[in-house]
Point group: C2
């Protein structure tokens, strides 16, 4: 077993994560968002509409901070507030997918094209290897995060 190689891949993985944060922040700035706002906007986009409380739990922000977050997004017409029909205390945050896409897609376009080209340069057997690595790596990070947040 080549320990140097293993360590090198681990380091590469770390660099990959770090570089992705940098890119994420650069895109945020161009979109007129802070790094954290960009992160949570992606969250809303991925998960779809949710209540303010759910967003608070998912992000770890206090409810007050979430109020401010939604205010900023609403001012930019990226989401809108809607009272839940079954419980009028609840505020449903409805992402305006079209506006969000208009804002972000142009900034991601080139990156996306290049990434897909990179992936396509591998055989499907090779892609499966990369996929299985990612799947397990993600699993490990989630385990680690959950353990830390519990303790």
């Amino acid at each position: 077993m080549d320990n140097d190689l293993i360590r090198q891949i681990r380091k590469l993985n770390q660099l990959h994560s770090y570089t992705s944060i940098q890119m994420h922040e650069a895109i945020a700035r161009k979109a007129g968002l802070s790094g954290t706002d960009h992160k949570y906007l992606g969250f809303l986009l991925q998960k779809g509409q949710m209540t303010a409380g759910e967003l608070s739990n998912l992000t770890g922000l206090t409810t007050g901070a979430v109020t401010g977050l939604i205010d900023r997004f609403e001012k930019k017409r990226l989401v809108k507030r809607q009272f839940a029909e079954d419980d009028r205390r609840k505020v449903i945050i409805v992402p305006n997918t079209k506006n969000i896409m208009t804002l972000l897609v142009p900034l991601y376009k080139e990156f996306r094209t290049k990434s897909e080209k990179l992936i396509a340069s591998f055989s499907s057997k090779e892609i499966k290897i990369i996929e299985s690595y990612f799947l397990r790596a993600i699993e490990i990070m989630i385990e680690t995060t959950n353990k830390l947040n519990k303790k």
Copy 2:
């Protein structure tokens, strides 16, 4: 060409980045650091000692913000300030590797073990594939970031 598979890997890559940010922040909290402080501490650890100005350039923070950053680290005995011998205006930030390790290693230990185990579960041919993917993916992200920061 299987476009669905390509898109899936791209999504997986995105999830990988996102999850790593979550873990990074969870570790920061446990260490009594903010997410950004953790990031820049890792930076110092990786690059070794540097002047305050270099850290400002590398992080994109203003010199004032760097002063505050070093103050927080120094209070925790994670770095110390040292005037440069050749130019006494310069402040060299010397990381206290031992203290930083004492703080962070226990939090990363399990993650590291699991990661290395995961990597070791692949053949060296497979590892080379993963490596080449990472190398190019990192390159693409750096290109994208640089373009955005220039424009």
